[in-house]
């Protein structure tokens, strides 16, 4: 009861601002008719519902149909009020598009008039078609067309103004109807006078400049929002949710209307996703210092840093783990399970994209289960901030993989999409089931589909080469062995992690014939290999396979020997980012593991390497394999060439939106 009471109080404060904007809107919209088609502001979705309903009634000129108009307009005002109530950051963003929203109905009005009536094709074409129609209408000239445009522009602005005023005053619906009818009658008389036509061109120029400046300010505001990663994610997602609500509430909504709304929403997201936000560059000192203040883990800069990788974090190891263990009982902001997962990342107990992602999501699931909404805060806002702080902690323990980044983005979009009407327990249960679905469908089930596809590529007598240790490749080999295929496996390994030995042990225990070698000998062993199976940490939009370091070398040698290279990767590891080399973005491991060799006491040449000024040790974790080395990518959407990765990225993104 209390939140519902507080809502109108929040609503009351911004209302005067809306009034001012509403009063200024009529002259702008009336003068800026020709500019309407060029507008492509985000509030298109918010203003769709009033656009859809009034035009047919207006064309018929039947006064009896005026009554449903007030029913439509309160919805747009309700959405505006909800946006205002969500927070101050939204207010600043919403005020800039506010003058533009009355203009949008006029553009659709003009497009309908130009086409001579309502047509579905015109609406599906969207803004581009509207622009063409508006341009074509001018050569026709004619007093009649101009007069009709003016008539159509004014009623929309009047409706908006009247609806806002009515809401603030709390006038009953009956009185709304009377005033609306009166304003409509008055507007009809104005176009008839010839004197008003002359001053329009002069004022329109001034108004155009004002509109352009408003657009620039809106764009600048959007850029400012872009700098905040979590802020942008939170602010972006509520808009489509609001667009969906009016469609559900309006009983008279036609099938065509819903199709139009569905068609227009993805383009907005595609635009925003076209430019992923740049990551934190560690050679930017000011940003690094800001991050250090919030940091939980104390980081010490490494002494012998490699200059080529100044933009990546290079910290001393060994001091992080004891420091974190000592702090265990003092870190109240971080959930104990998230803390535990962070420590496991730091020690390397959990490694591999899938394992890390599952561990993180399960920890978040438990954290959400134990979460309680603080007083005077909303669940959506506070939980998003809480998840953000958890992610920052995990990044300090070990930088995120791309699969984890995609999972976090999914989780934050789910939180933002939660309906406000849900109770706290219902919201939490919904989030937990969403996480469970993500783990079971995008990771576990995807692996099964990949295995089913890839097994068809294994024949009797094959010699399969794999590099390192990939869970997907391991499942494929074991499943092919269960099916009775006769093949040999060559496990290529590389220092310093030597993950291939773990895979080798599991394969030999299951009875597979194996050959083990180091990556240097891959040229020697490649003569007898018939297929290469590789895992991947990520597949980027230009087809680049971003995987454990050494994958590129193996793929390159296989390509030189004409051996097909098959990359097995789940679709949730695909990313719209592009990368040409392995240096602009990578992860640096502990350099000390290079100077020491396990089990080889005689190799001690680099002991005390940190004391040698001219000597650095570089332990790269990932590399980027060019797409022309990859023959096929097996994913849960099927077997695709590297050139089809951006198609899957788009379809995958769209699918996530509608879930």
């Amino acid at each position: 009861m209390d939140p519902s009471r507080r809502a109108p109080r929040a609503v009351i404060d911004p209302v005067p601002k809306i009034r001012q904007v509403g009063f200024f809107a009529p002259p702008e919209s009336s003068q800026s008719g020709p500019l309407d088609p060029t507008h492509s502001s985000p509030p298109i979705s918010n203003s769709l519902s009033p656009v859809m309903i009034p035009p047919p009634r207006h064309l018929s000129d039947n006064l009896l149909l005026h009554d449903p108009r007030p029913a439509a307009s309160p919805l747009s005002s309700a959405s505006a009020v909800a946006a205002a109530g969500s927070g101050n950051s939204f207010d600043s963003a919403d005020f800039f598009p506010a003058p533009l929203s009355p203009a949008m109905p006029s553009s659709s009005y003009s497009s309908r008039i130009a086409t001579g009536g309502a047509s579905d094709g015109g609406y599906f074409k969207g803004n581009g078609a509207g622009g063409k129609l508006a341009a074509s209408s001018f050569p026709r000239g004619g007093f009649d067309l101009t007069a009709m445009k003016a008539a159509s522009l004014v009623p929309a602005s009047e409706l908006t103004t009247v609806s806002v005023v009515n809401d603030s005053l709390g006038i009953p619906e009956k009185e709304k109807g009377n005033k609306t009818g009166g304003s409509a009658v008055e507007v009809k008389d104005q176009p008839n006078s010839s004197k008003q036509q002359k001053p329009k061109p002069k004022t329109s120029k001034a108004e155009r400049r004002a509109l352009q400046e408003a657009q620039r300010a809106a764009k600048a505001a959007e850029k400012g929002e872009g700098s905040k990663a979590s802020g942008t994610a939170a602010s972006t997602n509520p808009k489509p949710a609001k667009a969906v609500k009016p469609a559900q509430k309006v009983d008279n909504a036609a099938i065509a209307a819903s199709e139009k709304k569905g068609g227009e929403i993805p383009p907005e997201k595609d635009r925003k996703k076209d430019a992923p936000q740049p990551r934190l560059q560690y050679d930017d000192k000011s940003r690094v210092e800001k991050a250090k203040r919030r940091a939980v883990v104390k980081q010490t800069e490494a002494r012998n840093r490699v200059e080529l990788f100044r933009h990546l974090p290079q910290y001393e190891r060994g001091s992080q783990l004891p420091d974190l263990e000592a702090k265990f009982f003092h870190l109240s902001p971080v959930h104990p399970l998230v803390y535990k997962v962070g420590l496991q990342y730091l020690t390397g107990d959990i490694s591999g994209g899938n394992a890390r992602c599952i561990a993180m999501l399960q920890a978040f699931q438990e954290a959400i289960k134990d979460y309680k909404v603080p007083p005077e805060k909303t669940l959506v806002r506070d939980l998003t901030a809480k998840i953000g702080s958890y992610v920052s902690f995990l990044i300090e323990c070990r930088p995120l993989s791309i699969s984890m980044g995609n999972a976090i983005r999914f989780l934050k979009s789910r939180i933002a999409k939660l309906p406000l009407t849900l109770s706290e327990s219902e919201a939490k249960a919904s989030l937990e089931s969403d996480i469970e679905c993500f783990i079971s469908e995008k990771i576990i089930l995807a692996n099964k589909v990949i295995v089913k596809h890839a097994v068809t590529k294994i024949r009797d007598g094959d010699v399969l080469l794999t590099f390192g240790s990939s869970s997907a490749v391991e499942m494929i080999l074991l499943h092919a062995h269960e099916l009775g295929r006769q093949f040999r496996v060559v496990v290529v390994d590389s220092r310093p992690k030597l993950r291939g030995q773990l895979l080798l042990r599991r394969l030999v225990e299951n009875g597979l014939s194996c050959t083990y070698t180091h990556i240097n000998a891959v040229s020697y062993i490649m003569h007898e290999v018939t297929r290469v199976f590789l895992g991947a940490s990520a597949v980027l939009s230009n087809g680049t396979v971003y995987s454990r370091v050494g994958t590129a070398c193996v793929a390159m040698v296989a390509h030189a020997f004409r051996v097909p290279v098959i990359v097995c990767c789940e679709a949730y590891k695909f990313h719209e980012r592009v990368q040409l080399d392995s240096i602009c973005s990578n992860e640096l491991g502990n350099p000390d593991v290079i100077s020491n060799v396990l089990g080889r006491e005689d190799v001690k040449h680099l002991d005390g390497w940190a004391n040698i000024e001219n000597l650095q040790l570089l332990n790269l974790v990932y590399d980027a394999t060019p797409s022309d080395y990859v023959s096929m990518i097996v994913t849960d959407y099927g077997m695709v060439p590297p050139t089809s990765v951006p198609v899957i990225v788009r379809e995958y993104g769209r699918e996530q939106v509608w879930i």
Binding site: R505, Y524, I594, D623
Partner: protein, 415 residues
């Protein structure tokens, strides 16, 4: 003779047990051993060159069989055989001129002095001709013996003629052995100082702020890079560690000690780093007749990555590494598999091997060398300058005789 045999046996044991590291050290020791064989070989009065050739060939055959993969042994054996043939040819030419002079005038000292420059010119011409027409050597020898007979029959006799002839023959035999030993000494000197001549060319290839990648450990590469450093060229070196022998650790430590900016990377990071590398400079185990390289394992991968990124791949090789053989199936015939324990600890996998009950087998492959095709090599830098891979066959012709390419052929015919 027993002393020489003892030396040969000791060297054979070292070769079989792979105790001599590096082709340069092997080449030097082989040359020194062959020098001992030559110095202690008794030379008969007739066919002295043939006797030396047979002795060197017999020992060389044993040395090559002891370590077939170490091609430097065969290279040095063939070089020594070539030296013997060249010295014998030059001496034969000098002997012909000498006989002519003595037949014309026995007592004129002035005439002999005038003939000296002619002799040296003839020797140079004979040496030059030997590279073009090695088979003609026997023909020349036969001509020499035929020309020696007529003066003897033409003279009416007398003790003075017989005495002078015997003195000439004895001095000629001793001179041949002496010349051969001197030439072998020069060969040993060349082997020891080849890296200095290669290093002199460093400033022509390395510029300021360059980034160089190398793999493994090579004294030639070390001296090459240090020579550029001494000329005040500031550049960086990425050293791949070259697992599982980790020779790169040694090289990196030495480079850092000499003041070069060094970064050690894992072998798997080669492809990632090579996009920022300006040049790859590596040593070689052997250079084959077609310009291909027998190199430390992993280098074919580096060469492929270098070609992909249009990075020059430079091979430093002394002349003792030039091998006249063609690499048929080089990955198998010119390779050596080292102990699997360098890769995998047997104790770790014994339990799962038992549980598998023989169903799953496990092989561990640890090769020593890689073969790099000539198309992946941009440049060879030898002690005689820089060369294209396609020129190596011609360079090899300067150092070897055609008759010696197959060491085992003559003994079979003889037996």
């Amino acid at each position: 003779m027993p002393d020489v045999q003892t030396l040969v046996n000791d060297f054979l044991n070292q070769l079989k047990k792979r105790k001599i590291e590096g082709s340069q050290a092997t080449a030097k020791l082989t040359a020194e051993l062959l020098r001992s064989v030559i110095s202690q070989q008794r030379v008969p009065h007739t066919n002295q060159a043939t006797a030396l050739i047979n002795a060197v060939r017999a020992v060389g055959e044993q040395l090559i069989a002891a370590n077939p993969v170490e091609l430097a042994v065969g290279n040095i054996v063939r070089r020594v055989l070539h030296i013997i043939r060249e010295e014998d040819l030059s001496l034969a030419t000098a002997a012909m001129d000498g006989l002519g002079v003595s037949a014309a005038s026995d007592d004129e000292d002035d005439a002999e002095r005038d003939e000296n420059p002619v002799l040296s010119a003839a020797a140079v011409a004979a040496a030059a001709r030997s590279t073009l027409r090695p088979p003609s050597l026997q023909t020349l020898l036969e001509d020499t013996s035929d020309s020696a007979a007529p003066p003897h029959t033409s003279s009416s006799g007398g003790e003075s003629d017989g005495r002078s002839r015997s003195v000439e023959k004895g001095s000629r035999g001793r001179k041949l052995k002496h010349d051969v030993i001197e030439a072998v000494n020069e060969l040993i000197q060349d082997i020891s100082t080849c890296y200095e001549q290669i290093a002199e060319q460093a400033v022509e290839h390395i510029h300021h702020n360059e980034v160089i990648l190398t793999l493994g450990s090579s004294k030639t590469v070390l001296e090459f890079l240090y020579a550029a450093k001494e000329k005040q060229r500031s550049f960086k070196v990425f050293v791949a560690e070259g697992a599982p022998r980790y020779q790169g650790h040694l090289l990196a430590k030495e480079l850092a000690a000499r003041g070069l900016q060094t970064t050690v990377i894992t072998d798997s990071a080669v492809f990632a780093m090579i996009s920022r590398v300006n040049m790859v400079i590596v040593g070689a185990h052997a250079v084959m007749a077609n310009g291909g390289v027998i190199a430390p394992v992993g280098l074919n991968m580096v060469a492929l990555a270098a070609q992909r990124h249009a990075v020059p791949f430079v091979v430093l090789a002394g002349s003792h590494k030039l091998c006249p053989l063609y690499p048929h199936n080089p990955e198998v015939l010119l390779n050596e598999l080292r102990s699997p324990s360098e890769l995998l600890d047997f104790g770790e996998f014994s339990d799962c091997m038992d549980s598998a009950s023989g169903a799953g087998s496990l092989h561990v492959v640890n090769p020593t060398f890689d073969y790099v095709p000539p198309k992946l090599v941009s440049l060879f830098i030898t002690d005689t300058g820089g060369h294209n891979p396609s020129y190596m066959y011609r360079l090899i012709a300067d150092y070897y005789s055609a008759d010696d390419l197959v060491v085992k052929r003559r003994p079979t015919t003889g037996s």
